[in-house]
């Protein structure tokens, strides 16, 4: 009897440890802006699977894209010419937890500002205006979001993205399969696991540009303003990012970078994206 009781008490112990660990969360209130000032380094959460925004270059092993260039430019604006950047590749399921637990300072990863996310993180002013669209195989019968609202249609998206919620809203009958990153979702489309892939137009145009058999259809059916996310309470860092963002727009760096990445993408409205 005593042994049994002891056993069951022991059962609780690991649970207590887990609760303790989870209870620790959000206890650090350190000022990231001041901490980073000493090392002149900002650690950015980025994407490595998203063409035009953040995609790993196989030759160099480094990620390249609009978000990456923006992160470098912002860091230099905030901490001066010889400031350094560190990049941590995140996925949609890891970026907010990593921001909350202090592993990264800020996220610049084609991330839409939404009311739900705003409850957990703070966003900068929008730096890019995207809109959700559809990617299909050329010659597909799907031409707009209306064609998706059928029972036997499967839509591919990325986990926890705004795209999933939007599809549930605009095409509730369609089945949605979710993946960890855009590379996996597009691979699934190519393997015939679904009829259309959905996410923001900028990302889809990037994929269509490199894959001739696929096209972006139906225009945009939502507004997806991208923001840079920081942890709640990091007011000073957020302020610095907003100030730097405004300066980049002012001195023409922003327009130059936008043009570098999106200037030659057919069908993409750059003016709309820049919000001008």
């Amino acid at each position: 009897m005593g042994k049994k009781l002891r056993r069951s008490l022991l059962f609780l112990l690991p649970l207590l440890i887990i609760f303790f660990l989870s209870g620790c969360s959000n206890t650090q209130e350190k000022n990231i802006y001041q901490a980073d000032k000493k090392t002149k380094t900002i650690t950015w959460g980025i994407k490595s699977d998203t063409r035009l925004f953040g995609l790993m270059n196989i030759k160099t092993g480094q990620s390249e894209g609009f978000d990456i260039d923006m992160a470098k430019a912002l860091t230099k604006k905030i901490y001066g010419k010889n400031a350094k950047v560190k990049f941590v590749t995140t996925t949609i399921t890891t970026k907010i937890p990593l921001l909350k637990n202090g592993n990264i300072d800020a996220v610049i990863a084609a991330m839409t500002i939404t009311p739900e996310r705003k409850e957990y993180v703070d966003f900068s002013t929008p730096y890019f205006n995207a809109g959700q669209s559809l990617l299909v195989k050329k010659g597909s019968s799907i031409t707009s979001i209306k064609d998706l609202n059928k029972k036997n249609i499967t839509v591919l998206a990325v986990k926890g993205s705004t795209a999933v919620a939007n599809i549930e809203k605009y095409a509730p009958k369609a089945k949605v399969l979710e993946y960890d990153d855009y590379g996996q979702a597009f691979t699934a489309l190519k393997s015939g696991q679904g009829d259309a892939m959905t996410t923001d137009n900028g990302i889809l145009y990037g994929i269509a540009k490199e894959n001739k058999g696929y096209a972006v259809v139906g225009g945009t059916f939502t507004n997806e303003p991208y923001g840079i996310a920081v942890n709640k309470g990091q007011k000073q860092l957020l302020h610095a990012i907003n100030k730097a963002l405004a300066e980049l727009k002012e001195d023409g760096t922003y327009a130059r970078l936008a043009n570098k990445w999106f200037g030659d993408v057919a069908g993409f409205n750059l003016k709309e994206a820049e919000g001008q």
Binding site: I18, L21, S22, S25, I92, T93, I96, P97, K100, E116, R117, E119, Y120, K159, G160, A165, L177, E178, Y179, D180, Q184, T187, A188, K190, S191, G192, Q193
Partner: protein, 212 residues
């Protein structure tokens, strides 16, 4: 955490059910395939033995995730469409069957070889002796290691999360990424896995002790 579960209990239970379903299906198929290869490995026929050996070594030495992804990503392009659940279950079956084959083979070889000779001397054919004398004893011997394989199978079924297979892990990730309550969402996932695996693992240890 309790409210999180109450708000998402359907999501979790769907995942729990799919995890169990996929594990049980994979267990049944891999038992059949694994036993077949185990027998092939001990047959006097050299060709069959080599085939079985190659099969076992291939699936033992390649990560489950690679096998499952292969069925999910590559096979639909060339052969036939299959969803994440199916691809994951096939991957799990092939992967686990190679381990089960090794376990069963060890079990058969542990049965005293005198048993086979005795049965043959009593007029049974090789197959009859195998079927009625050797295999039943071997299975008794291998129940604890098979149980452990099943526990591994349940844990490994979490690769379905990569394949949109709607298992426990996938559903937990969904909850985590829509509610942002990362820790609680994953702790609930962990508790569900333990509900299956922990009692099983204690039962297997009890069986092992009883046998010794």
């Amino acid at each position: 955490m309790i409210t999180l579960f109450m708000n998402n209990w359907q999501t979790y239970l769907t995942g729990f059910w799919n995890t169990i379903l996929c594990s049980v299906l994979a267990l049944i198929f891999s038992l059949v395939i694994g036993s077949a290869f185990a027998i092939m490995e001990i047959l006097p026929n050299k060709v069959l033995r080599i085939i079985a050996h190659i099969y076992i070594e291939i699936f033992r030495n390649i990560p489950l995730l690679v096998i499952a992804m292969f069925f999910y990503i590559v096979i639909p392009q060339y052969v036939m469409k299959m969803d994440g659940f199916t691809a994951g279950t096939i991957g799990l079956t092939l992967y686990t069957s190679s381990f089960i084959a090794e376990t069963v083979r060890a079990g058969i070889q542990a049965v005293d070889s005198g048993q086979m000779e005795g049965a043959r001397a009593n007029g049974l054919t090789y197959w009859q002796a195998m079927r009625y004398i050797v295999l039943p004893q071997a299975y008794k011997l291998v129940i604890p290691p098979l149980g452990n394989q099943f526990i591994n199978l349940v844990k490994n079924s979490s690769v379905l999360a990569f394949l949109a297979g709607f298992d426990l892990m996938y559903q937990g990730q969904s909850v985590a990424s829509t509610t942002f309550q990362t820790f609680s969402a994953y702790i609930i996932v962990g508790i569900f896995y333990l509900i299956i695996t922990l009692p099983l693992s204690y039962y297997m240890r009890y069986l092992e002790k009883k046998m010794v």
